[in-house]
């Protein structure tokens, strides 16, 4: 057998792959996911992928922050001070989370502009575009809900004026505002509500839509921006 002549790690790796192959056809799955071709002229500038990376970074730093954050008006502010001053690399986790939030919105928009300019939203990619718009809305929702959590003056008043925008909607505007705030004013209830949306509802929604977004891209392949020129 050739296997006996191979170096140890290689043999161990192949044996593990064989074990999974027998059960779930792993090599086939990997080949179908990765061994595809893309048009040489599909200039994505890596913008969508960078947005994905930033989301992963937000998930990691956000989970770490949640281990120390205390979501009540009495203790939220002090828990942020504790993260910044006492927790090892706490300042770095929070700062990367804050910068990552801004960069994620910037790269979302750059990705949208790239797709718009290259006409990559056109048939058959209408669904990918609309799912992508949904992802942008969710990302903005992350920014809006996350901003309140430190419970400092900037957070409190930005949320106050931000939720006030909703009241400009005719008829139901004030009802929407009070729903967002969980009351007439920004309060402890608002903080609980924003945290729940920020840590549970939005991440679940984003991951769900993201899977659809990526699955469709995989099914269709990347758009070739010059495909119609040669017809």
């Amino acid at each position: 057998m050739t296997q006996s002549t191979r170096a140890f790690p290689r043999r161990w790796f192949d044996a593990t792959m064989d074990w999974f192959d027998e059960r779930i056809a792993l090599r086939q799955l990997i080949a179908a996911s990765l061994h595809v071709v893309i048009p040489r002229r599909a200039h994505t500038y890596y913008l969508g992928g960078i947005t994905l990376f930033l989301f992963a970074s937000q998930a990691v730093t956000g989970i770490l922050l949640s281990l120390y954050y205390q979501p009540t008006p009495e203790s939220a502010y002090n828990s942020i001070l504790y993260i910044m001053n006492q927790v090892n690399f706490g300042w770095l986790m929070r700062s990367v989370h804050a910068w990552g939030a801004n960069l994620m919105i910037i790269f979302c928009v750059l990705h949208l502009l790239r797709v718009a300019v290259q006409g990559a939203y056109k048939k058959p990619r209408e669904i990918t575009w609309m799912v992508g718009m949904g992802l942008l809305f969710i990302t903005l929702g992350f920014g809006f809900t996350g901003y309140l959590l430190p419970w400092d003056q900037r957070a409190f008043w930005a949320t106050t004026v931000g939720t006030e925008i909703a009241s400009a909607v005719p008829l139901v505007g004030e009802a929407i505002r009070d729903f967002l705030r969980a009351g007439a004013d920004v309060s402890a209830l608002t903080l609980s509500r924003f945290l729940g949306v920020h840590m549970l509802i939005l991440p679940a929604s984003l991951v769900g839509l993201l899977l659809v977004h990526l699955l469709i891209i995989h099914q269709q392949g990347l758009a070739d921006p010059h495909a119609t020129e040669e017809q």
Partner: protein, 145 residues
Amino acid sequence: MSDPIQRDPVTPPKQTLPFWPHYVLSELIAWYVILGLLVTLSAILPAGLEDRANPLLTPEHVKPEWYFLSVYQFLKVAAVFSFLGSEAPRLLGIAIPGVLLAMLFFLPFLDRGTKKPARQRPVMLLVVAVTLIVLIALTLWGQYS
């Protein structure tokens, strides 16, 4: 081989790249650069913290985050519609951004042209450029007013 999905007109084989490892490798390099950027920015300008929230003390310049500032500023600027009635400014201030956002959402159904290369779609480029300029102008106006 049957291929049920409608694909773009066939791209000649010489004009394709393998996704793995070529594209993935450059993507990973881009991620590494972004990680470096994140850590550098965080080290130079760590996330700040103002005074503890005080519902009784309104600061002088209250503004939403920069990515909502253009809509916020437009809502203020919409006061010019007051000649249409007392309710018009608030109504149009929220309706116009709402309609524009809905149009962006349904863009693939509004722009039915089949041409893709940017230089063959001057109108679309113009729309993108004007939208960007207006959004940036409103944001800066909101920031410095």
